[in-house]
Point group: C2
Chain length 137, copies 2
Amino acid sequence: MFQLDLKSRESIYEQIINQMKELIITGILKEDEKLPSVRELSKILTVNPNTVQKAYRELERQGYVYTVAGLGCFAASIADVKRDEAAIAQLTETLRTTLRQLTYLGFSKDEIDALLMTLLQEDQQKTEELKKGSEHI
Amino acid sequence: MFQLDLKSRESIYEQIINQMKELIITGILKEDEKLPSVRELSKILTVNPNTVQKAYRELERQGYVYTVAGLGCFAASIADVKRDEAAIAQLTETLRTTLRQLTYLGFSKDEIDALLMTLLQEDQQKTEELKKGSEHI
DNA sequence: TTAAGTGTACCATGCGACATAATACAGTGT
DNA sequence: ACACTGTATTATGTCGCATGGTACACTTAA
């Protein structure tokens, strides 16, 4: 379910946040579906429960999940996240800094442009495959 | 010359690295032009000389500058910049997942395409402005 | 030769974010 | 009652970063 990179400069709880966001945004975790409990996920990932809790708390603060005391943590409505200005702004900022980094690495505009078109093409193809795959369910 | 943000999550030596790369790639620092000495820049930025040296060492490792003992640190030929494959792969992966998330958030290909072109335009404009700004020194 | 400036190499110290460990409390469901 | 859930707290250790200080070798100019 999760892929942690302990060597990453991204901290563990940040990785949990981002990967959980992905599961929610992509709909793999459907609305109101229960997330693994703090202790459960901590065992799966072999990390400290406090670390998982820190991630869950932040996910709730950002509106990706809601929690019920004694019950657990659940995926929030995607509608709350969709077209969420904060989420979009965050992604845009990520794109901006990434492009800048590529420029720092000596990439020309044309090179970056070509790379972006390739990636966008990949993304669209992936989307098409998902649609086709879901047709015969 | 430099703009440090002490509150940034980017460390000081990383900021020095990136801004120096910017100066070199934009041609503001021309080939074989001398960089401020370690001690000099440390006084300008009011940071520790060790911090500046750490940045310079990394810049040399990546091929952006070359150093001559006793003389100083000089801007290398942009052609000599070593393309860090690992860094490129990392950035590409970041782009890939970010595009994917935008798609999940309901963005169409055209919307993403437009956004990317805008950002790329911004990036290039920023580079151009830096070049122009350095003309009248 | 001397002095000042250059890069370079250490080592010790402090700080803050992160992760861990252990414990405790309150709410929910069986 | 019991076993789950989330939540909160405190203490401890680690690591990267930045600092302060010292030292050495090299180059250039006085």
